[in-house]
């Protein structure tokens, strides 16, 4: 029964926050408490799944292939825990950063709407239901990205909305074709049926449409242009939330689909995904290195990091998948953290542009440290979590004898370090530009605390890499052996 809570609780919180949207203080405290409760619930689910195996539930008492199934395996539980933890941090950060008009215009209910969609996408076991959760998530994010309605935001949100609508079109089209072919949309049932078919020439077409839809949502090459064009426009707390949640849902769904539905032509798909992964990570990081706005550098970086996750999928061994899952968790925390640190830079100096920044290390070493930790984690410096994530991915790559993609991954790591050092040098290390008079802004204590909390979480993820990797290996086992998922849902 606990499995419905990750969906119901955000809905309930959203309703309460909608009724009370004018009471600022109540909104702030209630949404913080709400996200803490949500994290706690997800953690209970993770514990349960890790000890007792995959959990499934049939709300409405309709049996498995007919009703909508909710399923939680270790991977989805891990993702839910990380997402809701990120939401706690963003809830602490927001009161000190986002202006009062936006906060009382429905910011908090929308965040819970987003979380409901994200959690729903993580635990649903039905493809059409998955589409609905994607829409819930996207609708909330459409409003969040345009919230406040500054001209720059509207420009960004037009691009974001348009491309995501096209992706949804592909998604629905693929669902229609698949349903016509197989007569079922329950993921476990469909996967079981596909394993009994003789040939699957037609199914690959639908799967490719799905793949296009998900690669738009997770910003893979060549469908990533919307992300850097829109992510830098809203207040950075919203961008940080998006960076920690949205693209990762696309990645999660790709893992789920690959594990369950890639039965035919596995070699083609593996090659295809590895090539896209290599291109994504390399092109993303090259474009990041050429930018001069902190938010744009970080946005392009998201793309590059998604490449790493997809690389783990392409390798498709337990080590590779576990590495990719660990990397995803690390990325959700570290990426959000770098964005929040960028927000601190903005509060301190009033700009995101590296040309007008400088001397921040001298001005406040603590703020510099808060950027340094997640940035070095992203670059993969031990003992921070990015190192372990990349280590396992590269180990998996060598074990599976995919030398080329592994070489690309190592090379991309160097460029990642370069682009992080670029922000460090320009914003923190170099002397203040003399022609620009620095604005000596105050950093709000809540934003500082939130960023520090997340930085501590990043360090802890690195320190306790051993136990977390254990859980990720368990999740990897479940992804590589889809029979476990199928049996858990169909009750065989």
């Amino acid at each position: 029964m606990i499995l419905v809570l990750p969906i119901i609780l955000p809905l309930l919180f959203m309703v309460v926050l909608m009724f009370t949207r004018r009471w600022l203080l109540f909104q702030q405290t209630f949404s913080l408490l709400g996200s803490i409760v949500l994290t706690f619930t997800s953690f209970l689910i993770l514990l349960d799944v890790y000890q007792n195996g995959i959990m499934s539930l049939q709300p409405g008492s309709w049996e498995a292939p007919f009703g909508i199934t909710l399923v939680a395996d270790t991977f989805s539980a891990l993702m839910m825990v990380t997402t809701s933890f990120v939401s706690i941090v963003v809830m602490i950060f927001s009161p000190g950063f986002i202006d009062k008009e936006r906060q009382t215009a429905g910011y908090y209910p929308l965040v819970f709407g987003l979380l409901m969609g994200v959690n729903g996408a993580f635990i649903t076991g039905d493809i059409f239901n998955l589409y609905v959760w994607y829409e819930v998530m996207l609708t909330s994010s459409f409003v969040l990205i345009a919230l406040g309605g500054s001209p720059e935001q509207l420009r960004g949100s037009i691009k974001y909305v348009t491309i995501n609508f096209v992706a949804s079109l592909f998604f629905v089209g693929a669902i229609g074709i698949l349903y016509g072919q197989a007569g079922t949309l329950n993921m476990a049932d469909l996967a079981a049926k596909m394993r009994m078919w003789e040939g699957g020439n037609y199914i690959n077409g639908a799967l490719m449409l799905f793949f296009i839809a998900f690669s738009v949502k997770s910003a893979l090459v060549p469908f990533f242009f919307w992300l850097p064009a829109s992510y830098h426009t809203p207040p950075i707390a919203i961008t940080a939330l998006f960076a920690g949640t949205l693209t990762k849902v696309g990645v999660y769904t790709m893992f789920r689909f690959y594990s369950l539905f890639i039965v035919f032509d596995q070699q083609f798909w593996q090659m295809f995904i590895l090539i896209l992964a290599g291109l994504t990570m390399f092109i993303g990081v090259l474009m990041a290195a050429s930018q001069f706005d902190i938010r744009k550098i970080l946005s392009f970086h998201i793309i590059s990091q998604v490449g790493y996750m997809i690389m783990g999928l392409g390798i498709f061994t337990v080590t590779g998948i576990a590495g990719a899952i660990y990397f995803t968790i690390h990325n959700m925390l570290s990426k959000t953290n770098t964005f929040l640190a960028g927000g601190l830079v903005y509060q301190r100096s009033g700009s995101y542009d590296l040309k007008y920044l400088g001397g921040l290390y001298k001005a406040s070493p603590f703020l510099a440290l808060l950027f340094f930790i997640p940035a070095m984690s992203l670059a993969g410096i031990p003992p921070l979590p990015g190192f372990f994530g990349k280590f396992f991915l590269i180990k998996g790559g060598f074990e599976a004898q995919q030398y080329f993609i592994t070489a690309v991954a190592i090379l991309t790591g160097l460029f990642t370090l370069f682009s992080m050092v670029k922000i460090w040098n320009e914003a923190y290390w170099k002397k203040e530009p003399e022609e620009v008079k620095q604005r000596d802004g105050k950093v709000h204590p809540s934003t500082f605390f939130a960023t520090a909390l997340l930085a501590v979480a990043v360090i802890l993820l690195g320190v306790f890499a051993g136990p977390v990797i254990e859980v990720c290996l368990d999740a990897g086992q479940q992804i590589v052996n889809p029979e476990m998922y199928i049996n858990a849902v169909l009750g065989r």
Binding site: M1, V4, I8, L11, L12, M14, V15, M18, F19, R21, L57, Q58, P59, G60, S61, G106
Partner: protein
């Protein structure tokens, strides 16, 4: 735009559409109809009024805020899943209750109707919210 014909029509159509929306809502329990269509009619009643008299005047005649109506709808829809838990079933299972049994007014109602009522409010509130903010421009 002030049109006397539209104003008179809107004034009389509003209660009519509201009653009809309730009929469509209840009809959806067993026949075509339902919360979504009913909600659209509910919203349309007020949108027609707003077209004739303007958004400000319409908002004055509303005794609720559209956002609160949407929230109420979501709450009711959520609540429709709860009775199943008390009956010992899984969340969102349809539970049916019979009123006035063995009389001429025998009435079978279930939690799906409650869910539909939630959809009705949510759709109406959402429609009004969107249309009012578009018409205000």
């Amino acid at each position: 735009m002030e049109s006397i014909i539209l104003q008179i029509a809107a004034r009389h159509m509003r209660p009519l559409l509201l009653v009809l929306s309730l009929i469509v809502l209840y009809r959806g329990h067993n026949e075509p109809g339902g919360g979504f269509i009913g909600g659209l009619m509910f919203g349309a009643a007020y949108i027609l009024y707003a077209m004739a008299f303007g958004v400000k005047k319409t908002q004055k005649t509303l005794f609720f805020n559209p956002i609160n109506l949407t929230a109420l709808g979501l709450l009711v829809a959520l609540a429709s899943g709860i009775p199943a838990i008390f009956a010992g079933d899984l969340f969102m299972t349809g539970e049916w209750y019979t009123f006035f049994e063995h009389t001429a007014f025998e009435l079978k109602l279930g939690t799906p109707l409650l869910f539909d009522v939630g959809v009705y409010f949510a759709v109406a509130g959402m429609l009004m919210m969107v249309m009012f903010s578009l018409m205000e421009e």
